[in-house]
Symmetry: C2
Subunit: 441 residues, 2 copies
C-alpha cells in the first residue's frame, strides 16, 4: 500500500469550513446588496493574466510577491495580486461595450506571496467598488457615502472615515519648493500612524530640511473640526482652488445628509501610491483602532493609461474581506448561527424511508430546509448529528404513527415534543416554532 | 510616452461583463438555495495546492493540463484542476472537526490547460455536491433527487438522468472472465454516445473477443422500461445481489415520489474513471441533446484514501456551470434582465445635487435601488445612460419643483410622466409601477 500523503495546505492559504464559509457568504451578500442599491454592478476577470498586463503598474514592489510562471504554452503568466490592475485592463478592453460613468464592484480572491508572519494571508478576498468615467465631487461623495452605508448594513456604525486630498498636499509641497520629492514625502507622512510623529519628523528633516519638515508635519495635523482643518490646509497650500472647493462641497453634502460625524478631514492621510491624484481616504473602526484601515481608496485621474489612450478618471475604494470578517467577529457582530437545515427527519425504520422522503419533499415545498438521515442508526447518534448541525426541529415517524397518518415534531432546542400532528398541522406548528411566515410557492 | 500594452486576456480565459456576471450570480444563487434546502453546507479550499496533494490521484492524464510551477519559496505547487481532489484532502484534514454524514457543496473556479479548440475554457466554474461518510441507497437517492430539483429550480424539467451501477457491470465482466480488463472495457463502453455502437464494437472485439463484445453491447442496451432493463442486467450479471437490490429500491422511491419519468436505467453509462464503485449517472437535456451531460457523478467507496486511513465512502455529482449557463440561454431560460438600479435621479441642476442625494437616500431606505447621475450633462446623454442600464424609472427635480416640494416621476419604459408628486406619493407610485410590496425597514 502506498504511503499516505499529508493533507496539508500551503502556508498562507486556508480551508473554509462550513461555518466560516456561511459567514463569508452572509457578509459578501450584504455588501453586494448594498452596492446594487447604489446602482453598482458586478464584473469578474481571470485569476491568471499575462505578466506584462499585471506588471505594467508599479512593477518593483509587487514583483517579489507575484505568483509568476511559464504556462504549458510558454507564456509568461501570473496570478492577480489585486483587483485594480485587472479592472484597468478590463476597462481598456471593454469601454466601447459599456456606458460611462461605469460603476462596478468586484469581489474576488487575489494572491500575494507575502510574509505570513505578520498574520497575512497569501490568498485573500478583496472587495472593490469604483466609479469610472467622471471626475466630479458628486462621484467622490457617492463612494464616501457607500463606504459608510456598507459598514452600516453590517451593523457597524462606530467608524470614522479619514479623508484628505492629494492635490492640496501637492500644492503645499510646491510652495515649499520640494514638489520633486512629493512621492517620498507622501510615503513618509503615510507612515505617521504606524511609526509615530518623531520617526516621521526625522525622516522628513533628512528628506526636505528642518523648516520644511515642521511645515509638512503642521500640514498633517487635523484641527478640531472639518472646516478649521480645511481653512488651515487651504492657507498652507497657498489659498483656495478647485481641490479645496471640492472638499468644502463634499462636507456640505455630508451636513445635508446629517452624516458628517462619520468623517474627519485628516491631512496626514496620503495613501503611499503615486497612483492617486484627488481625494484619498482610510476607514478606522472606533472600537478596534488596532487593526488599521478596513476600507481605503481615492481618486485617480487616469485608470487605464497603460492600455489605452482613452482617459478614464475614477474614484474607488477597497475592503479587505478577511480583515473585515475578523473585525466583525471581534466586535460581536457575527450572528449566532442556527443550522442551514431547519427540519431533520429522523430515520426510525429503514422500510419507511420512502415515507421520510415524501415528508421531506412536502416540507421543502412548504419552504423548510429539510434533510432526512440517510440510514438507520442509533437514535442517540442521530440526535447528536442534529445537534452538531444546529438543526432546530426534528420529525419522527414510526409504523404505528404511519398507520394513523400522523407524525411527532420535536423542538430540539427546548426538548418539547408535539405529537399526533397531521401533515397540515405539522407545517403550521413548524412555522410557529421557527417564526416563519407562510410562503407562496 | 511608453508604448501601450494590449489589454488582452489569456486564451481560454474570460472577462465577465455585468450582464453575464449577474446571470452567473443568479444561477449560482438558485443552486446554493436548492442545496441548502436539502441540508448541504458550503466549503471552500485554496486555488493553489501542493502538486503532490493534487496529483496523488490519476496523475498521468491531468499532468499535461496542470498549471504547475515553483513558488518563490521553491515549493512545487499547482492550481486546482477540479474540486474532488481538494475535497478529499479537505475531508482527510478536517474529518475530526466535522460530523458524518457530511453533505457539502462547493462552487468555485478550476483551471485546466485544455485544448481550447473544442470550445473549452481553461478557467471554468464547477459546482459539486456530495454526501460523505455513508454508503446507503438513501444517500444515492438523495443525490439523484437533488440533481432533478436543481434543474427544476432553474426552470428545466425536460431532462433525463441516465443511471447505472458499476458493481453490476463488473459482475457481468467477471462472468465473462474479463474482469481484469474492466477499466479498459468501461472506458470503451463509455464512448458509445460519442463514437457510436459500431466503433465501440470493433474496439471491444479486439479487447475481449467477439462473443464477449456482443454480450457487453447487449448489457449496455436499455430495455423499454427501468424494471425490464434491471431484470436483463441482473441476469447478465449472474443473478440478484446487493447492487441490483439497491437499484430496485431506488426505483421504488422514485415511483413513491412520482418522479420516475425523469430517470432511465441506462447500463451503457459507466463514467470512465476507475474511481467509481457504485451507481453512476449523467444528465441530458431533452431539448439540447447535443451538449452532452450537464450533471454527472456517482458513488465511490473511499474518497480520501491517499491522505488518511479512515474510510470515507460517498456519493456525489458535479455541474459544469459554464455549460449550464450556455444551455439556459439556448433554452430561453435566461430571464430578460431589467437594470439593477430601479430609480434613476436625473441631475438637472448641479447646485441641487444635495437634494438629489437626500432624495436618493430616502428612496433607498424605502427599498429601491437608486442612483444619481454624478454630474450635470445634457439630458439626452442621461436618458441614453439610463436606457443602457435598463433602469425602469426616472425622477426629475428642478428648482421650481423644489420650491413647491414636489418631483416628477417618469416611467422610462412607457414614457409616461407623473408630475407634482410629494415624497410620499413618489414612493407609492414607484411601488405601484414596479409591482413592489412595501418593505419593512
Amino acid at each position: 500500500m502506498a504511503e499516505l500523503i499529508e493533507p496539508r495546505v500551503l502556508k498562507g492559504f486556508r480551508d473554509f469550513l462550513p461555518d466560516a464559509e456561511l459567514e463569508r457568504k452572509r457578509v459578501q451578500g450584504i455588501l453586494e446588496d448594498t452596492f446594487e442599491r447604489f446602482g453598482f454592478v458586478p464584473i469578474d476577470t481571470p485569476v491568471l493574466e499575462y505578466t506584462e498586463v499585471l506588471l505594467g503598474k508599479g512593477g518593483g514592489e509587487t514583483d517579489k510577491q507575484l505568483y509568476r510562471f511559464q504556462d504549458n504554452g510558454g507564456r509568461d503568466v501570473a496570478m492577480r495580486f489585486d483587483l485594480t490592475v485587472p479592472f484597468a485592463r478590463f476597462m481598456a478592453a471593454h469601454v466601447q461595450e459599456l456606458y460611462l460613468p461605469f460603476k462596478r464592484y468586484h469581489i474576488a480572491k487575489v494572491f500575494r506571496g507575502e510574509n505570513t508572519q505578520r498574520g497575512r494571508f497569501r490568498e485573500f478576498t478583496q472587495c472593490d467598488f469604483d466609479i469610472v468615467g467622471v471626475d466630479s465631487p458628486a462621484a467622490d461623495f457617492e463612494i464616501l457615502l457607500l463606504m459608510r452605508e456598507s459598514f452600516h448594513a453590517l451593523g457597524i456604525d462606530r467608524l470614522r472615515i479619514h479623508l484628505s486630498h492629494r492635490g492640496i498636499f501637492n500644492r503645499a509641497l510646491q510652495r515649499l519648493g520640494i514638489q520633486e520629492k512629493a512621492v517620498e514625502v507622501l510615503r513618509t507622512v503615510d507612515k505617521i500612524k504606524k511609526i509615530g510623529e518623531e520617526a516621521v519628523r526625522e525622516q522628513l528633516v533628512e528628506l526636505a530640511g528642518k523648516g520644511e519638515a515642521e511645515e509638512i508635519l503642521q500640514f498633517g495635523k487635523p484641527e478640531p473640526d472639518f472646516l478649521s482643518t480645511l481653512n488651515k490646509i487651504t492657507e498652507l497650500a497657498g489659498g483656495p482652488a478647485e481641490d479645496t472647493e471640492r472638499l468644502k462641497q463634499i462636507y456640505q453634502w455630508m451636513v445635508d445628509l446629517g452624516i458628517e460625524g462619520s468623517y474627519m478631514l485628516d491631512p496626514s492621510i496620503t495613501r503611499g501610491l503615486d497612483y492617486y491624484t484627488g481625494i484619498v481616504y482610510e476607514t478606522f473602526l472606533l472600537d478596534l483602532p488596532g487593526i488599521g484601515s478596513v476600507c481605503s481608496g481615492g481618486r485617480y485621474n487616469d485608470l487605464a493609461s497603460l492600455y489605452t489612450k482613452e482617459r478614464l478618471p475614477g474614484v474607488g475604494s477597497s475592503i479587505g474581506l478577511d480583515r473585515l470578517l475578523a473585525a466583525l467577529e471581534e466586535l460581536g457582530k457575527k450572528p449566532e448561527r442556527t443550522g442551514v437545515t431547519e427540519i431533520f427527519v429522523f430515520c426510525l425504520e429503514e422500510p419507511l424511508f420512502g415515507d421520510y422522503l415524501s415528508l421531506a419533499q412536502t416540507l421543502r415545498k412548504a419552504g423548510f430546509a429539510t434533510e432526512v438521515f440517510p440510514e438507520q442508526r442509533k437514535l442517540s447518534n442521530q440526535f447528536s448529528f442534529a445537534e452538531k448541525k444546529k438543526i432546530p426541529l426534528g420529525v419522527f415517524l414510526g409504523s404505528e404513527e404511519k398507520s394513523r397518518g400522523v407524525v411527532s415534531l420535536r423542538d430540539l432546542r427546548t426538548r418539547v415534543t408535539y405529537e399526533n400532528l397531521t401533515p397540515a398541522s405539522l407545517i403550521m406548528k413548524a412555522r410557529e416554532l421557527l417564526g416563519k411566515h407562510s410562503l407562496k410557492a
